[in-house]
Chain length 420, copies 2
């Protein structure tokens, strides 16, 4: 029941030809499987079998659902995830077409879909790690989130359509991976998947994860993640799933999409910039000026994404919300405040989950120096703890930015004193 | 497509005989249709066609889903509500069998189900209106809510089962009636359904409903009601749907059941006792001592339902929650605090919705004296406003009880001064 054809590098071109009448078999045909290239080219996805196919003119991604994940220590996955992912992309493409790859085909018989290959852009995470900055990215991703979320929420849709969609995107299997990974961290150095964790770090991070205030906050946030179905969320919106240039951005990999809390995507996305900031505080830069500039960019991204998201959401509400939401004084402000608190909480819990887990986390893993990598991760974890203790009491984004700066200052002063 | 048989008083006995092999056609057969008797016997339901059938030994309720509501100004209903209601009752009967009528039959072809007729007990609302008190009711309903909610929540069920159930009970059509009725009140005296509202009251209540703080609070609560799917809730758990005696209680009418917020049922249930309290402050009693006693009972019900609910829920959590919820310090306390705030908010919004709506509200309608009825309703509305402004800041149930007493005292002093 895995379809009639199992795609491979050998048969994928014929397959594409049979599905797309515009594909040119006489063109400059190139085929590769994702995972063959460098992580930097292909991202850190470890779930799917994906092929790049090009005739020189059309550049395609061909993605087939399989029962098992690509990574070692694999687990059984939902075979219908290709369909949910394609459906989610279709909805997003209808709302923000400029921010999604073009969609070409969905083949239910073989559980395959074909989209545009957007690798003429670069995976933003690996460029950020090289110090590249994207001036438009905050605005683009804020608009992506605000638009796809608002127009799939009950603020816009009639409740029947809203409920039908939330049933369609229940996505029980895939979201469960996040319910565990981002909220319940056990810190087990014995696992054999991915990188090993060093014992010193394990002791430190275990203590933070077991802090009663941290445990409680993560369970509360997890409960929101599990029970609040406000809109279609991407659920895996990190910088490896965003291809970007100085002018463009494309969001990919929607196989985790489900009806969840508004704030989750922003939390997960900005978590990357908090991690980039923490890494930038310790990794080598050519000049201290370059470090300072890049760190300022990370803070700009965190702040701007939130500010722009609120602006877009408020604008869509004003223009397109259902009549019952017209003229409710304070509704938009309350939405923004709730979003602020929840996104900070989600960001902290997800970061902690990723840092203390064994799958690769390039934002930190790329720091070669052991001590500096350790510092970047420990600073992050201490910051995450603060965010988790305070998430429900934040009143402005600047308060949060100030916390990042304060905790960095205290952390750096402490390690400096230690060295003396 | 309304089934093969349309039930009537004439054919319902033959129908029952064809479905239940224990029904005795030679017994002392009695048939009546709900709505023929007094409101006090049959309740204030205005949706379904329901028959009482008895052979002298077995006392049955036969309920068939029809396209239209029983009331005038009717609207089209979901034909499958009989099935959802029966399924909800089955689940609750498995969890708290002593608090649910016995279930006998569910006929998918004709959209009919048959349960025990529990009218050997009395509808609690109408007895309360006569000053009858039920010493065990708070404990019984607290246990009903805590048990049916905990054991259908993700604290207990594995997430797949939890999500499958939440899809099964999406109940888009029926819950929508509550989404409008309990949260969006327009106060339109021109409507032709039910009782007329007097113009003075309309002016007063319109002003409260249009208060920006009230509008915002109700929209926020409505958003929780619409997007938080925590467990199977009854959704229509008022005192007309609870048959009781001094020792027993049975919960009926689950056709609105869906996966909603934990706190909603408690809010809706205790709203009845706040209303009873407000009415008791103004309706006639044989002695002032009797009034005092009944009012104290209402406050006891409000307090005790919350306290017992928290106790039961905490106990079930401790005994039966999934392993990821073990040893999370503060989780139960946080659950209780969230429940407190949300239930007070839901109670206020639902009361306001009912008071300003045109369908009957016996707790107030039964007061014959125009001025006293007006006072009971205005005191309630002022109290509801306070609850809506403060719902997110309550920290204990006693704080809320104190607010009831304070606002009553202020209201009564004002009308007294007015009379001088």
């Amino acid at each position: 029941m895995v379809g009639l054809i199992t795609l491979s590098k050998e048969n994928v071109v014929d397959y594409v030809k049979s599905r797309l009448n515009f594909f040119n078999l006489n063109g400059d045909i190139k085929v590769s499987a994702i995972g063959e290239g460098s992580v930097e080219e292909d991202g850190d996805g470890f779930i799917n079998f994906v092929y790049r196919v090009s005739d020189g003119e059309h550049h395609l991604i061909v993605k087939q659902s399989t029962l098992e994940a690509r990574s070692k220590g694999s687990f059984t996955l939902d075979l219908n995830r290709y369909k949910l992912e394609y459906d989610a992309m279709k909805i997003c493409a209808a709302i923000v077409p400029d921010l999604i790859p073009k969609l070409y085909d969905c083949d239910e018989e073989n559980r395959v879909f074909i989209t545009e290959d957007v690798s003429y852009l670069r995976i933003s995470r690996f460029q950020l790690l090289k110090g590249v900055t994207y001036p438009k990215l905050a605005d683009q991703i804020a608009r992506y989130m605000a638009a796809t979320q608002f127009y799939t929420s009950e603020y816009y849709l009639d409740t029947k359509r809203f409920r039908d969609l939330s049933i369609h995107f229940m996505n029980t299997t895939m979201r469960k991976i996040m319910e565990v990974g981002m909220f319940l961290t056990s810190v087990t150095p014995e696992d054999t998947v991915g990188r090993p964790l060093d014992p010193e770090f394990v002791t430190f991070s275990k203590r933070i994860c077991a802090d009663p205030a941290v445990l409680l906050a993560r369970q509360k946030l997890r409960h929101l993640f599990m029970s609040k179905g406000e809109c279609l969320i991407h659920c895996d919106l990190h910088t490896s799933n965003i291809f970007a240039s100085q002018t463009e951005a494309k969001v990919i990999d929607m196989e985790y999409a489900f009806f969840g809390p508004f704030a989750y995507d922003m939390g997960y996305f900005t978590a990357n910039f908090i991690a980039q900031y923490a890494a930038a505080a310790f990794r080598p830069f050519e000049t201290e000026e370059a470090r300072k500039k890049f760190k300022a960019y990370c803070l700009f991204m965190i702040r701007e994404t939130y500010v722009k998201y609120c602006e877009y959401f408020t604008q869509y509400c004003k223009e397109d919300s259902k009549v019952e939401y017209h003229n409710i004084p304070g509704l938009a402000e309350d939405f923004c405040l709730t979003t602020l608190r929840e996104f900070i909480g989600f960001a902290a819990s997800a970061m902690l989950g990723r840092i203390c887990d064994l799958i690769p986390y390039p934002d930190y893993d790329d720091i070669d120096d052991y001590v500096q990598r350790h510092n970047a991760k420990c600073f992050s974890i201490i910051l995450n703890r603060e965010m988790l203790v305070k998430w429900e009491s934040y009143n402005s984004i600047d308060e949060f930015i100030q916390d990042i700066l304060t905790i960095e200052e205290i952390y750096c002063r402490n390690i400096k004193d230690l060295k003396l």
